[in-house]
């Protein structure tokens, strides 16, 4: 589904190399987790994949379903099926959450040459999905993320994911700022979307999210590279011993 080869990325504004050759393949139907210490390049990887400005790919490639995505605009990547759940969802005063969701859903459909969703159909679907994420009518009406609590913002990210039905979901520290109950709710939302045709890349600092979203593969990232790959037990090892042992082993 998602194939990343030798990806080297530097900041556009300064001569600072962040990713130094990332190799990673996420198969459809699988959940991969990336863990790693602060500054290892995890969030940069998610931004580069989703098409944020400010980064320069100096070497390597990334493709989604066989299609090269690095030359695409952010919106084209989204229409191709890529979704990033933001670590810090952006507040947009003045744009209603519903309007935003509907615009996004229909823009993607249009880009893929599909028929747009009617207002009635959209309303029905969004209500149903919002309900399972305990998002009430008021949250749907309010401006995007404005005045939302940390938990509400993350639930709103998952709602967008559910509405857009992407092929490849990247979750950037979706557990940050969540209490246990909110994390469970978010994880349930993600698990409901697990599907044979969909890949997940879950970026996290902590094992606890992975108790709820059980990964198939765990990668450890350090200094811009994937330094170790293993099964779910790798996440437990990090939880118990920290990154020091693994990094020492690599050195």
């Amino acid at each position: 589904m998602l194939e990343i080869k030798k990806l080297h990325v530097k900041l556009e504004e300064e001569d600072k190399q962040i990713l130094k050759g990332v190799d990673l393949t996420v198969e459809a139907g699988k959940v991969h987790a990336i863990m790693g210490p602060n500054g290892s390049g995890k969030s940069t990887l998610s931004y580069v994949l989703s098409g944020r400005d400010g980064y320069e790919v100096t070497e390597g490639a990334a493709s989604l379903g066989g299609e090269d995505i690095l030359d695409m605009e952010a919106e084209e990547r989204a229409a191709a099926g890529l979704f990033l759940a933001f670590q810090y969802p952006v507040e947009i005063p003045g744009v209603g959450n519903m309007t935003f969701l509907r615009t996004a859903v229909n823009a993607q459909r249009k880009a893929r040459g599909e028929e747009e969703m009617s207002a009635a159909e959209f309303l029905k679907v969004v209500r149903e999905k919002a309900k399972s994420l305990k998002i009430d009518a008021d949250m749907l009406k309010r401006p995007v993320n404005v005045g939302f609590s940390g938990g509400e913002k993350k639930r709103n990210e998952i709602l967008q994911m559910a509405m857009l039905e992407p092929k490849m979901c990247i979750l950037d520290e979706t557990d940050s700022g969540l209490d246990v109950d909110a994390m469970k709710l978010v994880a349930e939302g993600v698990n409901a979307l697990r599907d044979a045709g969909r890949g997940f890349l879950v970026i996290t600092h902590y094992q606890r999210l992975l108790d709820h979203i059980k990964p198939d593969v765990v990668h450890i990232m350090a200094d811009g590279r994937i330094v170790k790959t293993g099964g779910p037990e790798l996440a437990l090892e990090v939880e118990n011993n920290g990154y020091a042992d693994i990094l020492a082993e690599m050195a």
Partner: protein, 437 residues
């Protein structure tokens, strides 16, 4: 006799400009109940003279095309690409074509609880309530800053409408200004009296003329409410100067919103006098300018005289391709006007480096227990928000429009009526969509 100190500096150019303009306009209408008001307005104007480019209040906006004897031509704009504004709203239509009342397109001037009368008809009568209002608020509004184009209007306005409301008006009055003559030079003056506890909504729309000078005086008595929503026409080359003067008694409410898209020159002045206690005055505007010849100026003066008054000024401008936006807003809190709550925000969204926004916020406070705040910002589109939208699949052009509408939302939210606000929002959306690159 009211006294307005003349603050304009003597200037030979001013004298010549004023004489040339008055020469074209000729004699004032010296008949009927407004004759005296016209005469004193002309005296005021002659004393002040028309605006001069070096006048402090015309520092950011060139008055020359508003002052010159003949109106510069303005091509007619074909607006058939959009639905008529306020179409879904049950309203009483009063239509002016190039400043001339058109009975054929207008509704009959009758509504329960409301008295409507054309100004032109007042030339034949000596007694009418509007006599106590016409030119009175305008004259009061000449202090501390002279507004000669308003005095010119009082002296020469060819028509307009006088509305007196004694109850809650059943539906809004819609003043529609059509533009059919490329060289038209129109001057209209409206006087509105909202009696105690009465309510009225006035809607205005249309480009009006090649050059349009409009003046509205609104007197709101105890507990009365006046709502005003205006959309100034899209005709690219039109020039407009407007003045709204309002006087508020105890617990009176005045709310005004203006949408401006295009028009090479617009100067909208709002002069609000909160004389009573517990009154509320809101004035807001959203303007969209595209191109180096676009110039939009909002000039506001709020005077708090009573206790516990609330005033809000919310102005948002979207400027692109070298357009210019101006905001001059002043809040005066007089001695004794305690518990005043004054708010003022003026913001511009500059979509490129060539556009500019000039803002002059002012506060002058002579009471010690007040809350007044003001802010002014200029900025580009929020990149974070833009990326967020794009990452969800919204194409750049559409995402830019959404962010632009989001920027304007705070001003549009000032419109109380949801249906009208929706109308205005879809106008804005259509304007943006037409300009997508």
């Amino acid at each position: 006799m009211r006294f307005a100190p003349v603050l304009t500096k003597p200037s030979a150019k001013r004298d010549a400009d004023t004489a040339a303009r008055l020469d074209v306009l000729g004699d004032i209408d010296a008949t009927g109940c407004l004759a005296e008001a016209r005469k004193t307005a002309l005296a005021r104007l002659t004393e002040m003279g028309l605006p001069h480019p070096r006048d402090e209040y015309w520092r950011y906006t060139k008055p020359d095309t508003l002052v010159q004897p003949q109106a510069p031509a303005a091509a007619l704009h074909d607006a058939s690409d959009e639905a008529p504004l306020y179409d879904g709203i049950d309203r009483l239509k009063v239509v002016f074509v190039d400043g001339v009342f058109d009975p054929a397109q207008s509704d009959s001037l009758e509504m329960a609880g409301i008295e409507l009368c054309r100004l032109a008809e007042l030339s034949d009568t000596d007694i009418h309530w509007s006599r106590d209002l016409y030119g009175v608020l305008e004259a009061d509004g000449q202090v501390p800053v002279p507004r000669p184009l308003a005095a010119l209007n009082t002296a020469y306005a060819s028509d307009g409408i006088a509305i007196r409301v004694t109850d809650k008006a059943a539906r809004p009055v819609n003043l529609i200004y059509l533009h059919e003559n490329t060289a038209s030079d129109a001057m209209l003056h409206h006087v509105i009296k909202v009696e105690a506890g009465a309510e009225l909504t006035v809607l205005e729309n249309g480009p009006a003329a090649a050059r349009f000078n409009a003046c509205m005086e609104v007197d709101v008595a105890e507990g009365g409410a006046f709502h005003h929503v205006r959309a100034q026409g899209r005709d690219r080359e039109r020039r407009t100067v407007t003045h709204i003067f309002t006087r508020l008694a105890d617990e009176a409410t005045f709310k005004s919103f203006t949408l401006t898209a295009n028009g090479v020159l617009t100067r909208n002045e709002a002069i609000m006098d909160l004389q009573g206690n517990d009154c509320v005055a809101h004035v807001a505007g959203a303007s969209l300018g595209d191109g180096g010849d676009f110039h939009h100026d909002d000039t506001v003066f709020v005077s708090h005289g009573g206790l516990n008054g609330e005033s809000r000024q919310v102005f948002k401008k979207v400027l692109r391709n070298g357009a210019t936006g101006v905001f001059q807003g002043k809040i005066l809190v007089k001695e004794g006007a305690q518990k005043t709550d004054g708010y003022q925000i003026s913001q511009s969204l500059l979509l490129d480096d060539d556009s500019q926004f000039l803002a002059k916020p002012e506060l002058e406070i002579y009471a010690d227990d007040v809350a007044c705040s003001h802010g002014s910002t200029s900025g580009a589109i929020d990149e974070e928000g833009l990326f967020y939208l794009r990452s969800r699949g919204v194409p750049l052009a559409e995402a830019t429009d959404l962010m632009t509408l989001a920027f304007l939302a705070e001003a549009i939210e000032e419109i109380d009526n949801a249906e009208i606000a929706e109308d205005i929002t879809s106008r804005l959306g259509a304007w943006l969509e037409r300009r997508r690159g």
